[in-house]
């Protein structure tokens, strides 16, 4: 690529159009309006914002900072410190695979490879069709069921390659059905 090719050119070549999609920020204001006191509430507010959008859009984070009288850097600092906050859109389903010690010694690696293979993505990535995001996480606190994964809010334990495949097939099927509705 020569130096005079701009990012815009690349995007145009790739058929990527600049998305000027306006994000509706009303929910952010509603979340902050509902607080009796804002002191110490930054993390719960950001969690609620993430529940609304599936991630924390920059515009929303800026509103949070302005309304709560915090520096944007403070809000950004918190967003990047905690692993559960995400600054980019995520898949419809969040798949977390435990890479803790108890899961590791019980074959967690096999489960992780299976998931990566089936989804075609690695840690921290989202499938192109926005079906799912995949994360390897530290201990999920269900070591008695090792190896464990969490799909959205549900834990699935004592997994092996076959069981993982079945669970993922079911999830895909349910997702397709739900989208067809």
């Amino acid at each position: 690529m020569s130096a005079d090719v701009t990012l815009e050119d690349v995007k145009q070549d790739a058929g990527i159009e600049e998305e000027e999609e306006q994000i509706d920020l009303a929910p952010v204001h509603r979340i902050i309006d509902s607080l009796k006191e804002t002191k110490g509430m930054l993390i719960p507010v950001l969690q609620d914002v993430q529940t609304v959008y599936g991630y924390v859009p920059e515009e929303a984070a800026n509103v949070v900072a302005d309304r709560m009288r915090l520096y944007r850097s403070q809000v950004y600092g918190v967003l990047t410190f905690y692993t559960q906050f995400h600054l980019t859109p995520r898949g419809r389903h969040i798949i977390r695979a435990c890479s803790g010690t108890a899961c590791h010694v019980r074959g967690g690696k096999t489960v992780i490879s299976k998931l990566e293979h089936m989804l075609g993505i690695g840690h921290g990535e989202t499938t192109e069709d926005m079906f799912a995001s995949f994360e390897k996480v530290a201990c999920l606190g269900a070591c008695g069921l090792a190896p464990v994964i969490m799909i959205d809010n549900d834990a699935h334990g004592t997994l092996d390659s076959v069981k993982t495949e079945r669970i993922m097939d079911n999830l895909r099927e349910m997702d397709t059905m739900k989208r067809a509705e």
């Binding site: 905690y82 906050f85 074959g107 530290a138 070591c143 069921l145």
Partner: protein, 428 residues
Amino acid sequence: MSELKILTRNVSRPNPAHIDSYLVNEGYVALPRALNEMTPEEVIDEVKIARLRGRGGAGFPAGMKWDFASRDRRKPKYIICNADEGEPGTFKDRVLIENDPHAILEGMALAGYAAGAEKGFIYIRGEYPQGARILERAIAEATSRSFLGDNILNSGFNFSVTVHRGAGAYVCGEETALIESLEGKRGQSRIRPPFPVNVGYSNLPTVVNNVETLASVPPIILRGGAWYASIGTPECPGTKLYSVSGHVARPGVYELPMGVTLRELIFDNAGGMREGRTFKAAFPGGASSACLDESQLDVKLDFNSLAVAGSMLGSGAVIVLDDTADMVKATHVLIKFFEHESCGKCTPCREGLFWVRRILDQILEGSASEQDLDLLLEICEGIRSTSFCGLGEASVSCVESTIKKFRGEYLAYLRNSGSGEAETEAAS
């Protein structure tokens, strides 16, 4: 030694988390008794007589903590229930949260009465969304029956509880980092002293207790400190929830008197090792504890005995490994965890763990030499002795202890360019 169900007395009951199930089994009997018949000092004394020690890992006497907070004249004061159960291998608090949330709430109200606090927080890790919902429902139930809220049971004592969900950071299990997080900041530890009992949440006196510690309080008030002190060992009384995971036949949470041996826990309770396999090592206090080998199977699993054995009880997370385990790989997994979870505040932990992981990478790749083992130990010593908080200090226990006890496995990697011991995964 067999199970003794004090903390888990309600776990196998139908619908255990519901307030009516709790009430049937002497639930919310201790709280009115304390409010009507005991002064706050008497509640503290009872917990001191029980010699209840903090179950989060440090083992600090709970009664003393409450006493320090109660003597501080500044108000308001706070009670924080540390439910940020993040130590790899620990899943005991989850059992209490999901099955007996009212025991935790009653313990918090008693702590609040004793220390002179009217506000409590439960800081629960973000990975336990269901637990957070159960606790919130339990708080609503308890408030509607006047076990929480203003003027509890017409005693004039007010105590309310709020649930805060963590957002994914292991270091927030450390009490000062937890307080920072509760205040809406990055979870980075504070310098101690001053301790939270004097300078905690909003710089005010704050008692931080583990879930299991607080759930132990109602039975102590009900049956008396002397009764509790008669269970377990003299220095570490009471029962302990042990989370047993890894290569045992029946992983799970077992409640046993403190001082049970590792052998009794594994072979009498957790079903022994997997079929056809033999014991090799165990991390008795989660990822941050030094490992024990076969010669230490008869070590008692309490704060003092494990300290003497060169390890620690921590949160009682016993990760058991059998003869298929590759100690170098297991250590690598543990160090990757700590490297990721280092909060970045202090250099020894942030940079040191990066280098420890790099050298372990090289050992596994077969591109390290025996001198690197010495270098590894030197870096570990630096991290242990100069890190800002307990996370850094304890993070290298796994490296130090596995090199000490399983040096041969490291040497095998160094000699054979990476074709060391049996594959861990293949055997599972």
